[in-house]
Symmetry: C2
Subunit: 324 residues, 2 copies
């Protein structure tokens, strides 16, 4: 371009710049993108749903040292002592049934949490379309979304399913009895969430290893709670194991599977379960999902030597069409 012509262009552009400066800028959005993310497994579509984030105190982590925690958390730029931790749920569309795994915190913990319902809608699904809600366990951040703030069932047609051992524990008079200690408070909340489904005959327990619907199988993963259950989603040789609360601190517990969290009802059993599942996922090369891994909480597990693993989240990608 001749120099004179370029100078003219630059002058014209500068004028345009001044003109633009007089305009109002586009307003800031001030909101995040919708919190859902899909993966295709053969003929099954799985949608991760973001409920929000909760700050956990890193002192809740056991069988470690402050020095080890400082090092492992800093390595992955995770807050310490306030560890920002995701809460996820997962929707499974088998083509015949719509199964929601866990429901988030619901209306009970303030605006940073309780977004499963809006993200379900953003993903194009109404609560009335959900056929089955299965629970990994009955802690508040998994059952809280079963009801609205008035205690009414949020899923008007869904059957709620939970492992026999889990229901037996939380709904028993023994757990409910006594003073205001955490188990009793948790049990009261769990019973309140279950109540409208029990009252309307839409509450069902199942035995270990049950097939929830074809393609979704319950896998016992006891320890975090007495009936804590993972769900294997399988289609055409592809597999995703949704593990509930197998991991609370990705920066720590993959590298050191022996680190437990105070919320584990039976820490030794929870650790043994985590080790067994990590080993199988890494050896099988299939996907793992977890309610407290950074959203969407789906990825691969890499064996990094004796009792040490690496977490590799899936990369954001368009949805692959299933094979015909």
């Amino acid at each position: 371009m001749p120099k004179l012509l370029r100078s003219l262009f630059v002058a014209a552009a500068a004028l345009l710049c001044l003109a633009a400066a007089a305009q109002a800028a586009a307003p800031k959005a001030k909101t995040q993108a919708p919190g859902y993310y899909r993966v295709q497994l053969g003929q099954i579509e799985v949608t991760a749903l973001f409920d929000g984030v909760i700050d956990l105190d890193t002192k809740l982590l056991k069988n470690t040292t402050p020095e080890e925690l400082d090092r492992l958390l800093a390595r992955l730029f995770v807050g310490n002592p306030n560890m920002s931790t995701a809460v996820n749920a997962y929707l499974v569309n088998t083509g015949k049934k719509l199964v929601l795994i866990d429901t988030g915190v619901g209306a009970y913990r303030g605006p940073a949490l309780g977004h499963v319902m809006e993200n379900l809608r953003a993903a194009g699904v109404t609560p009335a379309q959900v056929d089955i809600v299965v629970l990994t366990h009955m802690h508040g951040d998994h059952v809280g979304g079963l009801t609205d703030a008035s205690g009414k069932a949020r899923f008007p047609k869904a059957l709620v399913m939970v492992a026999q051992e889990e229901a037996d524990y939380w709904l028993s008079q023994e757990t409910a009895g006594g003073g205001p200690k955490p188990p009793q408070l948790f049990a009261k909340f769990a019973r309140d969430m279950a109540a409208p489904y029990i009252a309307s005959g839409r509450w069902q327990t199942f035995a270990k290893g049950s097939v929830i619907v074809p393609g979704v199988t319950a896998v016992p993963a006891f320890g975090h709670t007495p009936g804590h259950t993972a769900y294997a989603i399988e289609s055409e040789g592809q597999k995703l194991l949704i593990c509930g609360d197998l991991v609370h601190a990705h920066a720590v517990q993959f590298v050191r599977p022996g680190v437990a969290i105070m919320f584990d009802a039976d820490q030794a059993q929870a650790i043994a379960t985590r080790r067994a599942i990590f080993k199988d996922v890494a050896a099988g090369g299939y996907l793992l999902g977890d309610m407290h891994l950074p959203f969407p909480g789906i990825g691969h597990v890499r064996a990094d030597g004796e009792d040490a693993y690496g977490w590799v989240p899936v990369e954001f990608a368009p949805l692959k069409a299933p094979a015909k």
Copy 2:
């Protein structure tokens, strides 16, 4: 719950199950969530925009061995030899100006790419609202979105800005001359994309280190192309450096910054630039963004010893409100 009552409930639930089986399941969505993601930096809002994915042949990577590539790619579950690679762009809202950094592939590479425009709209912004498009460089997957399939400018009001060295190279008669070798073909495409903006006086070059708008500064990052430029986004002590094509293979080039890619015009200079930027980002603890890191392509860089780094993507999180 008494056993008889429970049995009745189970029977009722089974009946409901049968009833539900007669219903049609919710249809599968078959589409991914919208490809945008926001981060707040002080008073500035940055939105990552997903253009799509392109398969790159891992043989394009230089200064490495097949064994090292196999090991590093497998470690992060990246495809080999077809390495699925994201193409990103970034929208910066300073509150006064809306600046788009790069434009993706546009209408020229098929359905797996060219989604910046739809994700811009999904993020709530129209092309007419964009005040400035700045380019990291003039390769096709950065300038392709400047025009539509008919060659018309897609951003009707935006000024397009690019480093003087970059425009000089791609728009020169010297680069354009000769046969159909890649540089000439790339140059023709770059000229075609720039043409409607040059014709309407909305094309402007700038000198190294220029302030594009307050909060957005051009940082020379030459090597990948002669005028390849990063952009520093800064507000209230927070910083994100959008680095263009500093990295094409996250699984390889953080661990081995000395690995180059065939597309680098000057591989030695590109490597020196990558090392210098990694070192500064890691030491400064600020965020890095890159057009070919897994979407949203924003995260921290950790120094892992002599000439080795780790990539830690941001965790999905709600948008934090800026301090008042």
